[in-house]
């Protein structure tokens, strides 16, 4: 017997329109800044807070 979720299944009407969700997928500079800020505040490993802000060097 399947272990079904023990919560009242939400209605489909609860979900926002798919178009609205997809609009949120567009990436802006603000999204990039927010992602970097999130990483710096709580990096996966200490010592790598600044790695996403690396300065590119060595022209190919």
């Amino acid at each position: 017997m399947k272990d079904e979720a023990k919560f009242a299944p939400p209605t489909q009407q609860e979900l926002v329109a798919i178009g609205s969700l997809l609009e949120q997928a567009d990436i802006t500079e603000d999204d990039v800044k927010a992602a970097i800020g999130d990483w710096k505040n709580d990096p996966p490993i200490d010592g790598y807070q600044n790695i996403l802000e690396a300065e590119p060097v060595g022209e190919p």
Binding site: K2, D3, E4, A5, K6, F7, A8, P9, P10, T11, Q12, E14, L15, V16, I18, L21, L22, Q24, A25, D26, I27, T28, D31, V32, A34, A35, I36, D38, W39, D42, P44, I45, G47, Y48, Q49, N50, I51, L52, E53, A54, E55, P56, V57, G58, E59, P60
Partner: protein
């Protein structure tokens, strides 16, 4: 004080700005694994709240989507060599990728709304979205190296069980960039833990990787096989 970093485009690796030392590929791998593990905790928490009726499905979906967006951008920037290397095409690729992910997420939400998934199935399916961050980084690495004049790459098997497709592609040795299937599209899909190594020219030991590994699965030198 936290170290500052450089991204050396000639080598395709991060460096410590003060010491000049290169950050080992393995260190970046550990960082990527820690990134995914950290997100697992976050998303597991959202799902636990959903299952305990403390979060609506709409709020769960919104929270997961926002977490995925932030994490995907982070994984891509790490793979591309830092935010200063991000360009408009990168934004476009990220947006297209996220739209695809969000469509799958909506299908996932619908399945939850239908009541057709068990808590274990919900958790397992959520994990797939996080596993996909591995492929986001690898694909960004391909774009970064192409921008920097690297023309060849080889598939390096990761520390995991391998699918036949990954084994087959890894045996091809160094080949032109674009001639192998992107990571995440072989049989193991988003569970892939392989990576690419990049070269500006065909490496001298390419014959080694193409022949000796095929024959022996080991580190025997070519001279031992004559």
């Amino acid at each position: 004080m936290n170290p500052e970093f450089l991204y050396d485009r000639k080598v395709g690796q991060y460096r410590n700005k003060v010491s000049g030392r290169f950050i080992a590929v393995e260190a970046v791998q550990r960082l990527r694994r820690a990134h995914i593990a950290k997100l697992e905790n976050t998303v597991d928490d959202y799902t636990a709240q959903l299952l305990n009726n403390k979060l609506s499905l709409n709020d769960w979906e919104t929270s997961v989507a926002a977490t995925l967006k932030t994490a995907t951008v982070q994984a891509y920037i790490l793979g591309k060599g830092g935010e200063k290397r991000m360009s408009q095409p990168d934004y476009g690729r990220l947006g297209a990728h996220l739209k695809s992910e969000y469509r799958y997420l909506r299908g996932f939400s619908q399945a939850i709304a239908d009541g057709s998934l068990s808590p274990a199935q919900i958790n397992a399916r959520t994990q797939l979205y996080l596993n996909n961050l591995w492929t986001v980084y690898e694909n960004a690495q391909v774009f970064a190296h192409e921008d920097d004049g690297f023309r060849f790459y080889a598939l390096i098997l990761g520390a995991a069980e391998h699918c036949p497709g990954c084994i087959e592609d890894s045996r091809k040795g160094a080949v032109k960039i674009g001639s192998l299937a992107p990571i995440g599209t072989r049989d193991c899909k988003v569970n892939c833990k392989c990576r690419f190594a990049f070269y500006t020219d065909i490496p001298k030991d390419s014959a080694f990787s193409m022949f000796s590994l095929d024959r022996s699965f080991g580190w025997a030198s070519l001279s031992n096989q004559k």
